[in-house]
Amino acid sequence: MKTKKYFLVGSGLIIVLVSLVISVRHVRGTASISEAANLKMKGPQNAPVQLVIYSDFQCPACKNAVAPLEEIRSQFAQDLKIEFRHFPLERPHRWTLVAATFAQCAAEQNKFWQFHDLLFQNQATWSASTDPLPIFASYVQETGLNTKKFESCVQNPEILKQIRKEYSLGSKQGVQSTPTIFINGQMLVGSAQLKEKGPAIITEELKKQK
């Protein structure tokens, strides 16, 4: 009798918890992956597979994801569109927002990917710097950006708004850490998951569309 009572109470509690978690998940939902059109894309516009990467320029794990992402891109060059979205983690990364602002302004002049590569290649240098602005300014020169336009861009509050918007969209999609990747909506977190599962997911997505 006592065992039965315990079983019933225990089961009741578990049912309440499961219902609660399911309801919260349902209410929270997830934002659509294609909500934020931006200037940080590469690959064919009408590619059947869309890969969105939420990244932080000062995060070492994001730097580690650059090479596998490039490998995947060359493997599926005709079928894959890559989109970069900012997800600056400001608490652990002091200069990430500044780096994101500079990269976003480079995007405004269609030079995002060159700037992106420079930031990741030299991540250790500017991350350790007490003032990375001169370093970023040298990347502006190196990528051949229009300095006047660039100066007014970095002061434009709309740039910060765009970065915050992408961050907020990522949060709504369940992004907690960087890099987080969505391949046609399927989520992968970290470069290990990208390397291990990315190509298989893309192949599967391509098969579905044939």
Partner: protein, 145 residues
């Protein structure tokens, strides 16, 4: 003493409820990546652990909070805490690139050292409840009447 034990029960249960719940309401891939970071499980075992662990934290945390199967729930949560202590210590000794413990999803960010201290505290709390499970306002007490 009785009220101290009640407080311990509520705190321990509450921490595990929060920990389990915060992981369950976000995509499982986040917690899978956290587990990968500790480099102790082979890939086929990562998904089952990432799936079941938050549920167990939530269920036993709720059991403890409501004072249901108090001794057993405290024993399970104590076991979880001991496991986390081992993994965090291992990550610190091996200098693994774990910068954030991943204990509470995106809710609360703790470094490995801070998480280690927290888990030690939780482990001691669980031990108290294993030895003194009779706390007031619990289902166990009501059901034994």
């Amino acid at each position: 003493m009785t009220f101290l034990l009640l407080l311990i029960r509520l705190v321990l249960g509450g921490v595990f409820i929060y920990s389990g719940f915060s992981k369950l309401i976000t995509p499982i891939e986040n917690f899978m990546a956290v587990i990968e970071g500790y480099q102790f499980l082979k890939p086929p075992f990562i998904w089952p652990v990432a799936f079941f662990l938050p549920w167990l934290e939530l269920i036993f945390g709720t059991f403890l909070l409501t004072g249901f199967l108090t001794r057993w729930s405290a024993a399970f949560l104590g076991l979880f805490s001991a496991t986390f202590i081992t993994l965090l210590s291992r990550s610190l000794i091996l200098k693994l690139p774990v910068t954030e413990c991943g204990c509470f999803g995106a809710g609360i960010s703790l470094g490995p050292q801070q998480a280690l201290m927290l888990d030690l505290g939780l482990f001691l709390m669980a031990l108290c409840l294993i030895f003194f499970p009779c706390t007031p306002f619990g289902l166990d007490r009501k059901m034994s009447k």
